[in-house]
Symmetry: C2
Subunit: 325 residues, 2 copies
Amino acid sequence: MTDIARIEAASFRLAGHALRTPLIGSDFLNEIAGRRVWVKAECLQHTGSFKFRGGWSAVSVLEPEVRERGVIAYSSGNHAQGVALAAQRHGVPCVIVMPADAPRLKVENTRAYGAQVVLYDRAREDRDAIGTQIAEARGLSLIRPYDEPEVIAGQGTCGLEIAEQATEHGIREADVLIPCGGGGLTAGIALALESRAPGLRARPAEPEGFDDTARSLAAGAVLHNDRLAGSLCDSIVTPAPGALTFPINHRLCGPGLVVSDDEALRAAALAFKRLKIVLEPGGAVALAAALFRPNEIAGEDVIAVASGGNIDASLFQTALTRFGE
Amino acid sequence: MTDIARIEAASFRLAGHALRTPLIGSDFLNEIAGRRVWVKAECLQHTGSFKFRGGWSAVSVLEPEVRERGVIAYSSGNHAQGVALAAQRHGVPCVIVMPADAPRLKVENTRAYGAQVVLYDRAREDRDAIGTQIAEARGLSLIRPYDEPEVIAGQGTCGLEIAEQATEHGIREADVLIPCGGGGLTAGIALALESRAPGLRARPAEPEGFDDTARSLAAGAVLHNDRLAGSLCDSIVTPAPGALTFPINHRLCGPGLVVSDDEALRAAALAFKRLKIVLEPGGAVALAAALFRPNEIAGEDVIAVASGGNIDASLFQTALTRFGE
């Protein structure tokens, strides 16, 4: 089980390896949102997303003789890169199971971090089964993307930083909006805030049509998405809330927020113009909710986690053409 | 005269107002450069460039009764925004004299920060004369973009951070490449490094055809540019090295580096892909030099200041189309 002690231990292991990402903002975004918007720029993290935190946490905690045999992960891309770079920097082998329709950049990057990439069909094959099979055959340690206590603890280090940075800026009460797929980042941050900044409340943000966590929180039980393809926010599309993450999020999170793909792209265009950071659609949903759902948020401040920036140039150009003004 | 004491005083005034920008990197960029590349992401600074540091330093140091009458600045855009936001946050009037061909985004932003914008013809009019005239007529304090000790001190706070961050990463010897127009940022950083990190050496980076500082350093005397228009790197095009900045840079800097507009755009595309930050061409020349002039740099590490990100969406799309791969 992940708790604050495990998050603190992960923070100790990540020190000097993960970047303490800045909390940034812009008066122009404040004006749109009608309150102060603080953006935790986790796209600047190594590999371009927060996933490096969980990857490093999980790889670094393995016993050396286990770690030496190697690790394996399955991922739509960002977890893949996070685990691959963590494995490479530990000098151990890494296999990544990725959907065949993942963005080209993510597949290329994962290979460039020294991992062997195994592709699968997101609509017809079960990545968990594939991962488990290869792991057993080769003696690799499987690092699940969110239902893994050490991964949740690693993501929670982002929450420790948010708590510190909110204090530095005098923010005592605020919603913290978090892009949510399987819920590992949300759960890790929620646990960190519970302990370190109880006036801050974690709230998941999701794309329309893939809002399994928002619906599950409202229902008080795990509900599934109807489909697993068709969102620009591919990085945060998962079948359902995790078995480990949902109980944490159900206990600690406020209601989920839901935005459209167009709103995510518009938020990415505004982040380009006003914050000078690059966001992928899935990484922009929390910022989109902060900007475009003002009536669903309370308080003078809102914190939005900008969780990843691994977007192909062509899609980014589309966002700028449509919403770059 | 600017010295380390004045930079430290500026740092004290900037605390809690300017962002401590992160030092970021990517294995992919290291591979291109053949050494470790550290990028000081000053594009994340308020107003999208380091100029907020100098603007805040100069506005905040004025006597209250002088400051209340207001300030004036002339600038191709980034200094304008830095001074305008600093004035707005101090609650004092601000007039900005800008070239009529400045990027639209910079003019709009300057107005949005509450400043009155006066446009002039960059090729035929003298901005210094215009600025002085308005300042005298209205009793405003003129804040020059680089030949002003408190502005140089403000930019020097970026150098204090570089010295600290280099120490954190164990970097003892390295060239620090700095986009250079009038030389205020270069001089401020050079002074800070002289005192705090003597193993780090400041070196200006400029666009081809507008390399007045590189040529002046080589000649040991102030030389002018032949022209003042025609570079994509508009933000760092000035007539000649400054009267205050050149003696500092001549004493402290290593040789200048020169890159083409295309190399600056290619560096901006790589910063998009690998660092998830947005750079304008003028803000990307130091990174371009770090990546594409490996034989002109010594040592295992190089630090490149990414000084600004105020680029129109259309030009950024051009960079991605041509170099986004």
